[in-house]
Symmetry: C2
Subunit: 176 residues, 2 copies
């Protein structure tokens, strides 16, 4: 994994890929699948996400206030769905799905070596957690796997239907 | 435009398309381009979005507390970028870009007939506006254009680079 400048993190999340959210609590790592996230600011990169209080990850995120957002490419799609269809209450997901955990540099939650990007995050705002399960995170360290190039991500349309990244187009824009 | 059940709204926004945000204030309509949005709940559909206080739309959204999220297909991409590269301070964007405004049923902001989906929204939470420019909206009415089928949306990767929807895949999932 190679360090990625924090100024480029928005380019990973703004397009809306399905991601994995890794947490660690009481020495135990867990991971869930997530599509409800958005950028909030460029640099430092701030990200909002919704983690239902039905999810086992909710308590870890709320108490430990740290996580890793890992972005899987298309090749992991089937595993990503299966990760989202079971709970850390019942399953040791890293073992069950053969995910390769790496130690993060700044947070207790593990990086996922199988993913092409990993974002170490700390929770910086919880005002909307009780009403909406909405957390605001700051990305404090970003990693990219230089071995995974020209990756395609997946976008969830509901009920197991995903759209895969297609062709890229470039239009003249003054926006970052 | 045909009514779309509110229970299906998440299927439009969860994949992370670039959208247009229409507002109306003091009898004047405006529109901006937006990629920082996410689902917050299924039904009623709640959506969070970040609208910078540098944007002319910010004041309209904050004061009037209503908007329309309109989702453009690929064919509008060039126009969508140009809409995002100028300000309602200087330009009457609906006129300049030849957008066809339709009257909404429940909000003052216009629907955009050129887009394949339009979501009438009201602001329901402003706790994070002062710190993060983050609004929480409730979608109160959703419209779909039955004439635009098999649309492809665009996803922003920064600096004018967009990825277009590619192929769809279906994986067995228990999730909505």
């Amino acid at each position: 994994m190679k360090s990625l400048p924090l100024s480029r993190v928005y380019q990973l999340l703004e397009p809306g890929p399905v991601v994995l959210l890794a947490t660690a609590s009481k020495g135990r790592a867990n991971v869930m699948t997530m599509s409800w996230h958005m950028m909030v600011d460029f640099e430092p990169p701030l990200v909002a996400c919704v983690v239902s209080d039905n999810n086992y990850s909710f308590a870890a995120l709320k108490v430990v206030k740290q996580c890793v957002i890992a972005i899987p490419a298309l090749e992991l799609a089937s595993k990503v769905v299966r990760i989202g269809n079971c709970s850390g209450r019942d399953v040791q997901k890293f073992q069950k799905f053969g995910l390769r955990a790496l130690r993060g540099s700044l947070v207790a939650a593990p990086l996922i070596a199988d993913c092409f990007a990993n974002l170490e995050c700390k929770v910086i705002d919880t005002h909307l957690v009780s009403r909406f399960n909405l957390f605001v995170l700051e990305v404090i360290k970003a990693w990219i796997d230089p071995g995974q190039r020209a990756v395609k991500t997946i976008h969830h349309h509901g009920h197991g239907r995903f759209v895969v990244d297609g062709r890229a187009i470039t239009l003249r824009s003054r926006m970052p």
